[in-house]
Symmetry: C2
Subunit: 455 residues, 2 copies
C-alpha cells in the first residue's frame, strides 16, 4: 500500500471500498480488501485503504462496494472490425472459411465498414471489461479514429500481403509512424505482415529491417496450426518460426498470433530471440476450427515467452469476450497437458494481466493496478448468485464470473462504461448504419478474393 | 402456426412480437419471426403471428420486441446444492477432489445447507434461462421444497451408496414415490444410485427391479472417465456399461451422467437397451479435471441415444451455466472429432431442447415451444453489441449470446424472472444465511468422509 500525501491536489477519481487485484514483486496475484484506488492524471496515484481514501478530495468518486477492481483486460490479437461478419462463415474448415467466405467478402470492404465494425467492436469490448486491444486489419485509419473517440487503448497495425507488392509494406510502415502515440498516447503501433504463408521471405526481411530502423514492434500470424507448420517444412524447408528466425522477424519485438503449430525444435529459437517475444492465444477458435493442437502455453512459459489472451476476429470466434478466453485458456490448457493442477486461476489471471500487457508492449504501463501505471481498470460485480459464495476469489473470477459482470470500465482514468451504461458509443445507431451496409459487404457474386489460402 | 380461435377465453399470458425457436416435424430447428406465444393453463396454446395475437385478450402481456423466445434450458445432471462449495476444491485430480475435500465436507452437510444451496442454485439457473434441472444429491426433501417455492421444474433423486446398506436404496425409493408429481406436477423423480463404483451389483439389480415395479427412471453416474472403465474391467471383468447391462439398470429408463469412458464395445449394449437411454454431458468439468476424453456425442447419436446438456455440480464446474455447456459442447465436440462441420449451432440447439427434454423424461411436455407443451420459455435479448449483427441466428444464440442475455424466464406460464429481476427468490438473504453456515460446512478437521473414491 502506498499512502498518498494529504497535501496532494484533489484526485480526478477515487474508486473506493472495493477489493483490488494486485501483484507482488514476484508478480504473484493477491487481493487487497477494503481498498481504494486514487487516480491522478490518468495514472494510478495510489492503492490505499478505503478509510484513508474517504478523507481525500476527489473530482469524482465511485463507490465500488461488493465489487472487485481488476486491471482492464487486453485482447492481444483480434481483427475487431470483423464483427460485421460474425456468424457469416460457420462450421467450416480453415481453408473454406478463408477462400470461400472471408477473403471474397473482404474484397468489398470499405473504410466505412471498418469504422462501423470497429465502433461496434469497441462497444462490445468495453462492455466486456476490455480496455486495450491489438488489432491487425485493413483500413486501420478508421480503427484509429474509433480508438480516439471511444477512449480505448490499442496497438494497431495495417495488415499487408506480399501480393500487394512493396506498397503493402510501405503503407503498414506509414500507418505505424503516423499514428504512433496518437489519441493522447493511447495508440501504439506495429508493423503488420499477415503471415509467413502470405508474406514472402524478402518482404519479411525488409519488414524486420524497418522494425529495427524505426523502433517498431511486429504483429503477425505464424505457426497458426499444425498444417501450416507441415506445409512450411515442405515448401520452405523450415518451420514458420525458422522462417521468422532467418528473415530477422524473430529478433524484433514480436507479437505472434496463435502458434498452435509451434514444435519442440522451435523453442530454442524463440528462447534465443533478441527482441521481446510474445504469443497471443485465442483458444476458442482453435476448438471451432477443430485444429489438432492449442498454443503450447506451458512450453512457452518454460522458456520465458509471455502468452497473452486473445479472441481472434469475431468472424471465427463469434465474440470479443476476453473473459471467456481467460476461462477457456485455463480449461483447455489443463486438458491439453493432462494436468488438472496446471493453469490455475491465478496463472490465468497472470496471463490476463501482466503477460498480456507485455505482449502488446505495455509491460510498464498496463496490466496492473499500481502507482505509476495507467488507470485502466474494470469493476466487477460479484453479488450475483452465480458468483456466490466466494471460497477462492481467483477461481470465482476465472471460472464463475462472466464478462457481463463487469459494471464499470475505465481507461486512463476516464469512465467509458458506468453501471453497464456505455458513455462513448451509441450502439443502436452503429447497428442501424452497419446493417444497412451488410448486403453490399457480404456479396460474393463478383468471384474475387483478396488473397488465397493454400498452406 | 396454429391460430387460436377468437372465441377462446382470455389467455393467461401472451408473449408478443418476438422471434420463436420452433422445431419442424423432423425436429429441425427453425425461427418464426414476428411471432407471438399464447399461454393458457400453463401450456402453450398457440404460436401465432404478432398481428393475430394483438387482438386476443390476455391477463398479462410481454412485449418481447428484439428478443428471441427459446424453450427453457434444461440442466440434465447437476448437484445444485453444491453451489455452497463452489471454488473450494480447485485444480485437483478427481480422486483428491473427492477424497480430500468434497466427501469430507459432505459429511457435515445438513438439510439447511442443502436448502440454502438449492435456493441459491435456483436463482442462478433462473437468471441463466434454465427452467428445469435433474438433481442427484442428498437431503433432497429440501431441494423439493425449493423447487416448489421457486417455481422451477426438476427431476429429483435421492442419491445413495451401498455403504449405507439397503436403507440407502429404500430412502431413494421412498423419496421418489413421495415426491413424484409434486409441485403441481413440476417435480418428477428418479431412483439415484451414485455410480457402479460405489453401488454394488446386487444393489444395482435391486434398484433396477424397483424401477420396473414402480415405473421410475434411474439417474446415475457411469463410465465417467477412462480410468473408471479400466478399473471396472480389472475389478468386475466388464466396463461400467456392461455392469449396468448385467444388473438390469440399462433396461430401465436411464439417465447416465458423463459417459466419457464409454468404449466402442459399449455401444451395441446401449443401442439394444429396452428402456429410454440418455447421456448427460457436462464438458466443462472434463476439461477442468483433465480427463482424456469427452462424451462420445457422435457415436451416441449414431445409435439413437439422446445427449442432454448439463453442468454437473458447481463444486467441480464452478457454475450452473447451461448456456456455456451448449457452446462448449459444440466447440469440444468439433475438436474431439477433428471435424469443424460437426456439431453445428443447430445441432447444439437440438441437444439443448428436445434431446435434453427427453433425457429428463419430459420428451412430450418440455424442450419445445409448440401447442400442448408446457410453457417453459426464456426470452433472450439480442440487442447487445456482442450479438450484432445477426447473419445466422442459430450461431448468434450458441456462439455469441451468453446466459446473461436472458431477460425473462417462464415456467408453466409463470414468470420467475422479468427483465432480469428474480420474482421468487431473495438472493441477498440466501447468501447471508448460507455464508454464516460455511465455516461449519467446510470444516474437515474431523477426518471423516461420506465415501471413498478408489476406482
Amino acid at each position: 500500500m502506498v499512502t498518498p500525501s494529504a497535501a496532494d491536489s484533489p484526485a480526478e477519481l477515487i474508486i473506493s471500498a472495493c477489493t483490488v487485484l494486485v501483484h507482488d514483486d514476484q508478480e504473484r496475484i493477491g487481493f487487497a480488501e477494503d481498498a481504494a484506488i486514487v487516480v491522478r492524471g490518468g495514472i494510478v496515484g495510489a492503492v490505499t485503504t478505503a478509510a484513508e481514501a474517504a478523507d481525500l478530495p476527489a473530482a469524482e468518486r465511485i463507490d465500488a462496494r461488493g465489487q472487485v477492481a481488476l486491471p482492464g483486460l487486453i485482447n492481444c490479437h483480434t481483427h475487431a472490425p470483423m464483427v460485421a461478419l460474425r456468424g457469416l462463415a460457420e462450421d467450416l474448415p480453415t481453408e473454406e472459411w478463408f477462400n470461400d467466405v472471408v477473403w471474397p467478402v473482404e474484397s468489398n470492404l470499405t473504410p466505412t465498414d471498418v469504422e462501423l465494425g470497429a465502433r461496434l467492436a469497441c462497444a462490445e469490448m468495453i462492455r466486456a471489461g476490455v480496455t486495450c486491444f491489438a488489432d491487425h486489419y485493413f483500413a486501420m485509419d478508421a480503427v484509429a479514429r474509433v480508438v480516439e473517440e471511444s477512449g480505448m487503448r490499442a496497438l494497431l497495425g495495417e495488415a499487408f500481403f506480399s501480393s500487394q507488392g512493396p506498397e503493402g509494406r510501405e503503407r503498414s510502415l506509414e500507418f505505424a509512424l503516423r499514428h504512433r502515440g496518437a489519441a493522447d498516447g493511447r495508440i501504439t503501433t506495429a508493423l503488420a505482415p499477415h503471415a509467413p504463408y502470405t508474406v514472402d521471405d524478402a518482404d519479411l526481411a525488409a519488414t524486420a529491417e524497418l522494425a529495427r530502423t524505426h523502433g517498431l514492434p511486429v504483429h503477425l500470424h505464424a505457426a497458426e496450426n499444425r498444417d501450416q507448420t507441415e506445409t512450411s517444412l515442405a515448401r520452405h524447408g523450415g518451420t514458420p518460426i525458422e522462417v521468422l528466425e532467418r528473415t530477422g522477424i524473430l529478433h524484433t519485438d514480436l507479437l505472434l498470433a496463435h502458434g498452435t503449430g509451434i514444435v519442440d525444435s522451435d523453442l530454442p529459437l524463440l528462447e534465443r530471440s533478441d527482441g521481446r517475444t510474445a504469443v497471443a492465444s485465442a483458444p476458442r477458435g482453435y476448438l471451432k476450427f477443430a485444429w489438432p493442437d492449442t498454443t503450447p502455453v506451458r512450453a512457452l512459459g518454460d522458456i520465458g515467452v509471455d502468452v497473452g489472451l486473445a479472441t481472434d476476429g469475431p468472424a471465427s470466434n463469434n465474440s470479443l469476450d476476453v473473459w471467456e478466453s481467460m476461462a477457456l485458456t485455463s480449461l483447455v490448457q489443463k486438458s491439453a497437458e493432462g494436468d488438472p493442477r496446471w493453469l490455475t486461476s491465478r496463472q490465468a489471471l497472470h496471463h490476463a494481466t501482466l503477460q498480456s500487457a507485455r505482449a502488446v508492449g505495455l509491460g510498464d504501463s498496463a496490466g496492473g493496478i499500481a502507482p505509476g501505471r495507467r488507470a485502466d481498470i474494470v469493476l466487477v460485480d460479484l453479488t450475483g448468485p452465480h458468483t456466490q459464495p466466494v471460497h477462492d476469489l481467483a477461481a470465482t473470477l476465472v471460472h464463475s464470473a462472466r464478462s457481463a459482470d463487469v459494471r464499470t470500465t475505465i481507461v486512463d482514468g476516464r469512465i467509458l462504461m458506468r453501471d453497464r451504461e456505455l458513455l462513448t458509443i451509441d450502439v443502436p445507431m452503429v447497428v442501424r448504419e452497419l446493417v444497412e451496409r451488410l448486403p453490399a459487404l457480404v456479396d460474393r457474386s463478383h468471384g474475387r478474393r483478396i488473397q488465397q489460402y493454400d498452406t
